[in-house]
């Protein structure tokens, strides 16, 4: 029996509606079971697991370096944030010092990831509510960012570009020009989106006062990221527990007190501006130097050095065939992904494969707030609410 709602005696005239998993505005394969009184949602529960692939079991079978490729596939809209979270957790376990240049490149790419993820959110959210053209504009700019990713890593989405100890490769020549070009173009494009939506009366009517959640409830339900900041809680892992030299950049944490769909929209729009600011600073202050840590038993050697140095060849063979042995212990490291606090909890038993790797997926926790914000609202608002918490089912089901 799939998940369903029990009927309440005496309320037989209410309709139980199964929404999804095949539904264009459930952003993947989310299924909601709604009890409707007319057009009003009385009760709601969600049903997930349609994309469950057992990533956490697979983590235990692969070596630490191989595990990076799994992280891309969880939150497929923010692969680089996932790469970063996993790499930082393993680096914390290994107590590995990452060169400054690699840290800055990581920051630039994860902030671009945030922008492109927010662009997908904005486009699909707007299309759910009926603003068709925004979607096309957003995907146009997203493509520019994906081209940068492709240039850096050879892949548009499943990048696996961050490795334990730094980056997979030295960034290619001319990549900064590509980023510069994007930085020049994007502020104007942001104005375009805002021009279409922010003061648009239809947009405001569909989002203001809809799906409101208070700060206390948001904290109690474990909501994080822009959805939490849309309820006025000033919490951002990048500021609270800075990683990868985020403490070196000036940026604001946008918050809104209202807690409704419109507030979450404004927060994400402001966040894209802040991300641009961070990319600008990181690009201006980009240090010179290596992009990989000096730890030959962990970091893969250069292709070139393998042809001339026997040590490099041996290390390469050891890393590929066996992996490296981290110390026994456990670490939890979280990063601010576009959806909120993305945490990796890694337990090591000293073997080359993690004993356990658990992913604290932000969407998994954020989704818990959904029944709360849609109960008592019209069914038409349900799609606005789903869009506003920006869930990615790949990361929820894992």
């Amino acid at each position: 029996m799939p998940v369903t709602l029990e009927r309440i005696p005496g309320q037989e005239e209410r309709v139980i509606l199964s929404m999804g998993p095949q539904h264009p505005s459930t952003h993947g394969v989310l299924r909601l079971v709604l009890e409707l009184d007319g057009e009003t949602v009385v009760r709601a529960i969600y049903d997930i697991g349609y994309l469950h692939t057992g990533f956490e079991k697979s983590f235990e079978r692969l070596t630490y370096s191989q595990d990076i490729t799994l992280t891309d596939r969880m939150d497929y809209l923010a692969p680089l944030s996932n790469n970063l979270g996993f790499c930082l957790a393993v680096e914390k376990l290994l107590e590995l010092e990452i060169p400054a240049k690699a840290q800055f490149v990581r920051v630039i790419l994860t902030e671009l990831t945030r922008i492109q993820s927010h662009l997908v959110w904005l486009g699909t959210h707007a299309i759910d509510i009926g603003a068709m053209s925004v979607f096309l504009y957003c995907f146009r700019e997203r493509e520019d960012i994906l081209h940068i990713f492709e240039m850096m890593s050879g892949q548009r989405m499943m990048t696996s570009y961050f490795r334990i100890g730094g980056l997979a490769l030295e960034p290619p020549l001319g990549w900064t020009d590509r980023v510069e070009k994007f930085l020049k173009k994007f502020p104007g494009r942001l104005e375009e989106y805002e021009g279409l939506l922010t003061r648009n009366p239809i947009w405001m009517r569909r989002t203001q006062g809809v799906g409101a959640i208070s700060a206390e409830d948001a904290v109690a339900y474990g909501v994080s990221g822009p959805s939490l900041r849309g309820s006025g809680v000033k919490w951002d892992v990048r500021k609270a527990q800075p990683y990868s030299s985020y403490d070196k950049f000036n940026f604001e944490i946008p918050t809104r007190p209202e807690g409704d769909v419109y507030a979450r929209y404004l927060v994400r729009m402001a966040e894209m501006r802040e991300s641009l600011k961070i990319v600008r600073q990181a690009l201006d202050g980009l240090p010179e130097g290596p992009v990989r840590a000096n730890a030959p038993h962990i970091v893969m050697p250069d292709r070139e050095s393998m042809k001339t140095s026997i040590e490099a060849l041996i290390y390469h063979f050891k890393i590929v065939t066996e992996g490296f042995h981290p110390p026994v212990g456990e670490v939890y490291h979280s990063v601010e992904s576009p959806r909120g606090e993305l945490g990796f909890y890694i337990v090591s038993d000293g073997s080359p494969r993690p004993f356990r790797c658990h992913v604290r997926a932000p969407s998994f926790a954020n989704l818990q707030a959904l029944p709360k914000i849609i109960e008592g609202r019209l069914i038409a608002d349900v799609v606005a609410c789903i869009g506003s918490i920006d869930v990615v089912l790949g990361e929820i089901d894992r």
């Binding site: 029996m1 697991g49 956490e56 339900y221 212990g329 670490v331 909890y345 604290r360």
Partner: protein
């Protein structure tokens, strides 16, 4: 326990609460982990949430570990955050392998709801007092708990 752990404010507060509230504590890579007896978990959780000087109001993560074939076989792991004091804490509870059960923390942190269902689904740990403890990511008729260490990666054939 080394002095760094002994003088940690959270450890001291828990000791003041009750000497039995704390089984063990350790700091690794700057992260504090405390082990709580299963019987006192609910009480300690409420204390950690409500005590002004601690105020761990945010449950960021909840999961479990399987130490098969060692006993106690299971550990449930809770990652707490204090937004006001910008502090993190890891709670752990050791559970026996034959009938792993522990108090649900949904009444303390509603965020625990989906996480406990996930642990129930994938580890088979039973959370007493959970409002809706059913499988969450696997089908209802699934046999076994895949994240247990005695569950083969390829599944049962």
């Amino acid at each position: 326990m080394n002095p760094e752990v002994e003088t940690h404010p959270v450890v001291q507060r828990l000791r003041e609460l009750s000497p039995e509230a704390l089984e063990d504590a350790q700091i690794f890579r700057g992260e504090l982990t405390v082990w709580i007896p299963a019987a006192r978990l609910r009480h300690v959780a409420e204390f950690l949430r409500d005590e002004k000087a601690l105020s761990f109001k945010y449950l960021s993560d909840l999961t479990a570990l399987d130490h098969y074939p060692n006993e106690p076989r299971f550990e449930t792991v809770y990652h707490l955050v204090s937004l006001e004091h910008n502090q993190r804490l890891r709670l752990k509870v050791r559970l026996a392998g034959d009938d792993p059960r522990v108090d649900s923390l949904v009444p303390v942190w509603p965020a625990a709801n989906a996480f406990e269902r996930e642990v129930f689904d994938l580890f088979g740990v039973y959370f007493e007092g959970h409002p809706y403890l059913v499988r969450i990511v696997l089908p209802e008729d699934w046999e076994g708990h895949p994240l247990r260490k005695d569950y083969p990666t390829e599944g049962y054939r």
